[in-house]
Amino acid sequence: MGIAVIGGGVAGITAALDLADSGYKVYLIEKNAKLGGKVAELAECETGIASRIVKIENHPNIDLMLSSEVEGLSGSAGDFKLKVSGKEIDVESVVLAPGYDVFDTIAKSYAIGHPNVVTALEFEAMLRACTASETGLLLRPSDGKPVKRIGFIKCVGSRGKENEICSTACCGFTAKEAWEVKERFPEMEVYIFYMDIRVFGRDEELVAKLKDKYGVNYIRSRVPEVIPENDTLTVKFENKPLQGLRGRGQSPRLENGTIERLDLDMVVLAVGLLPSKTIGRLAEIMGVKTDTYGYLETSLTNPLETNVPGILACGTATAPMKVRESVAQASGAALKAALFSERTEPIPGQETRKLIDVADKPLKIGVFICGCEGEVAECINIPAVVEHVKQLKGVTSVDGETTTMKEVLEAIESGIVDQGLNRIVVAGYSPRAYEDLFRDACAKAGLNPYLLDMVNLREQVAWVHGKEEATDAAVDQITMAVGRARYLEPVPIESYPVTPRAVVVGGGVAGMNAALEIANAGYEVYLLEKEAELGGGLRETTELQRGEKASDVLKEYVDKIGSNEKIKVYTGATVEDVRGRAGSFRARMKSEKVDEEIDFGAVVLATGAGEFVPEGWYGYGQENKVVTQSEFEKMLAGGHVDATTIVMIQDGIPGHRSKYSGIEVVSNALKAKELNPDLNVFVLYQEIKTYGKWEVLYKEAREKGVIFLRYDEGRPPEFQDGIVSVYDVIFNDEIQIKPDLVVLSPAMLPAEENEHLSKMFKIPLKNGFLLEEQERPKLVLTPVDTVNKGVFICDSAVYPAMVDEAIAMSSAAASRACVLLAKNFLETPGIVSVVNEAICSGCGVCVELCPVEAIELVEEPISAVTFGVMTVISGKKKAARVAEGCIGCGSCASYCPSGAMSLQNFKDRQVFAQLDYA
């Protein structure tokens, strides 16, 4: 038996890998002839998805079914029979990840047939094509002239009649495309037409940077039409001073309602997302419900489950979302699907490998130069490079024929096995994305994985220099790598057992969910909550946005946790003094009742976020008619609001806005209107971020008479003597309101303990939130993983989000933790510092330096030791010892005055060898 994953896009790939990596049999079913879905249409170097696709293609536990369609399903959870393109497969559960389709009935008024009007996805392809072109310029498709002015139009095919809801992802990808354009063509004028900028977290920082640093013109206006005139495109929009051209804090931007014209060379339409066309039929076969918009139906508190047990849903098939959220859902759904199944397959990397002893063997360096499907071959004269590299000392084989990653991997394996190569140099791809893949290939063929060096010919040579210079540079860089390869040593790899137990820090909804998921998967869990009771933010809430009672949700979780033997709850608990590494951590746990050492293999950090107390803002704390949204929510739940006029003030208070802030405002306004339809509700705002399906709430609120007034950033509303005055930018006038109640939306603050946890678990912090492993500008494909392999993060520890996202993300963190816990053993990391105790003088410089306190001085008995001309004959000497926590930065190695400390794989000799190339 096994698990079927339907859809081979980024979500399906993620789910399949999480399952297969923890020993489940997976059938990955994709209707197209290749994997990758929409993400594969983006530039590979930006997505980094190729390594995952290669991994899937070679995964022993994955049965890849391309060009296949699901035709029927019978049976029930634990015993499904799935008919796929005529074949019948037995599976215990199914993960649905059919993805999205781009909105394709774009109104004619956008001149969609014109060559200079493209959709965002088409524009990605254009950017890629123009980078590969000789001039590198972005040219107008109609006449080949360079583009000087480009316009992005957002909300095409979303937030409108054809598709009511917000597509969520467009604001982010438009910002990313604008950024790329400005990075590459700083002179180009960029205009972005938008309704609201619905970005969160780091995308928010990007938009601010675009406006302030890159001079991108963000224009708040819905563009009704694009008028083509020969090669030029004219857009009409509401006039107002161009925002990007002005600094912050200047006089307010007023809108006087006149219509302006702007001539553009190109227009990019940020086209909305629709549920995949296959969903209707698929849902029918599976017997799962779809919602009014055609997405697979899930709920706020069960975001990954369909109405059929054993059938899970994830990604853009459940709602429009970004890749980051999509892959988090996929990981979470995978873990839930695994509950119905049994592990039947071996876990990769858990077989005992026998590595060849290379100690006294003569050097046999194999150099593999990859054409990278033409991307390198077109820019570098590979045959000339091969000729040169052949002459180098120690090189016994040079392969310049390979063009794809798969070919290189195969060539390496056969080179090691058949030709006895004992050092490998791969020239082509960036080691940052693919080093692990090539290391695995070496290890699989029996070569110590650290006998590999990589040269980045594509990003750092082929794409940045002219052909002749690139060929010279390639020769030099490969020569340097060969030089290093001569001195590479096999790094001792030891395996150590994995402690099959997890610790979850934080007992809010995310933490409780993560603990339950991990316990259900069969592992012991310690759930640590700093307060006296579980519940976190749920305790502060009475009702969730879809009307669910928070107390019911809380009770269900607490009951489930209470009755689960695998979970031990510790309240008033903190974790101190963390040692060890992924798979084998040890820490001291202090709680109300115990103070003990605990051992665990993985940890999920699910700390919450606290509400900023807006003391002094708009008279909060001084006047009892000023409350926060969460206090207002309690009043609403009480069924009575003693007011006739309410003013809600969004934004304005500095700090991090949570993802639910806008939704909370709109839903509370609606609830108030429901209690008393005659109530006057004013919402003063800058952006209403009701992303995705929440957009309908915003629309409903407007229909029900909630009045939304937008004010300028530089001119926030004031509340004095019982009167709120606000300068409305649409009326172009000051409006005064006399409210009985003012409701504020304070910012969310990261949990205080994040700082402590970041130190304990060695995870970087950004603005007080924990940072995920992957950094910009690539897509976030591992949103819950961190630089410390055994540590996973979710929910408000990363960014305050809606409860459905918090749950999905904590399931994802649990899933990633379980992939690790499923292993019996792990291998020690290779790039760590080692001490040559014989020459260590015990000065302790390294102890002071080590950023993770992984070095200690120990006293060792010795007979005699010589430092230069001096010999010490005492019976003891102090020497440094590197503990398990070493992260391999190498600071100690570069500071050590006696040369006793060295960083494996980056030893002095290995670096010097690269300098000797000339």
Partner: protein, 142 residues
């Protein structure tokens, strides 16, 4: 190989950390930012691994310039390796000054999203070193 093309083409050795500057160089590539082909990059995991010896060795080997790249302050993947690097390079500079070599060594913070900055530094550095002419150590040592 350089001299044949007429004019002096300097040789610059670059030490970068894996997470920020090396990634920035990758981004310069994916954005097809052209820059002079004088740089030869050496990847380290962290700028903290940059031993002043590496810089000296590069200069004594005849490199005309040395570039050192690390993460911005506060963004180090290894928490504070970049500060250690800065500290040591500052100390090294006082020695390099004695030999008139300090203006051949440039250290910069360059993040993974600063492909443009990386390409710009490469251009500027190639120009600066061209102005300075060949490394005088070359004649003395080689």
């Amino acid at each position: 190989m350089e001299e044949e093309k007429g004019g002096f083409e300097p040789k610059i050795i670059g030490f970068t950390c894996n997470w920020c500057t090396y990634a920035g160089a990758d981004l310069a590539g994916t954005s097809r930012k052209k820059y002079p082909p004088n740089i030869r990059l050496i990847r380290l995991m962290c700028s903290g691994r940059i031993d002043p010896m590496f810089v000296l060795k590069a200069l004594l080997n005849g490199a005309d310039g040395v570039f050192l790249g690390g993460c911005h302050p506060g963004e180090c993947h290894y928490i504070k390796g970049n500060f250690y690097a800065r500290r040591r390079i500052a100390a090294l500079r006082t020695i390099l000054k004695q030999f008139g070599l300090d203006n051949r060594v440039r250290s910069e913070w360059c993040s993974a999203s600063e492909g443009d900055k990386f390409a710009r530094i490469m251009k500027e550095m190639a120009e600066e070193i061209k102005q300075l002419g060949p490394n005088p150590m070359r004649d003395k040592i080689l």
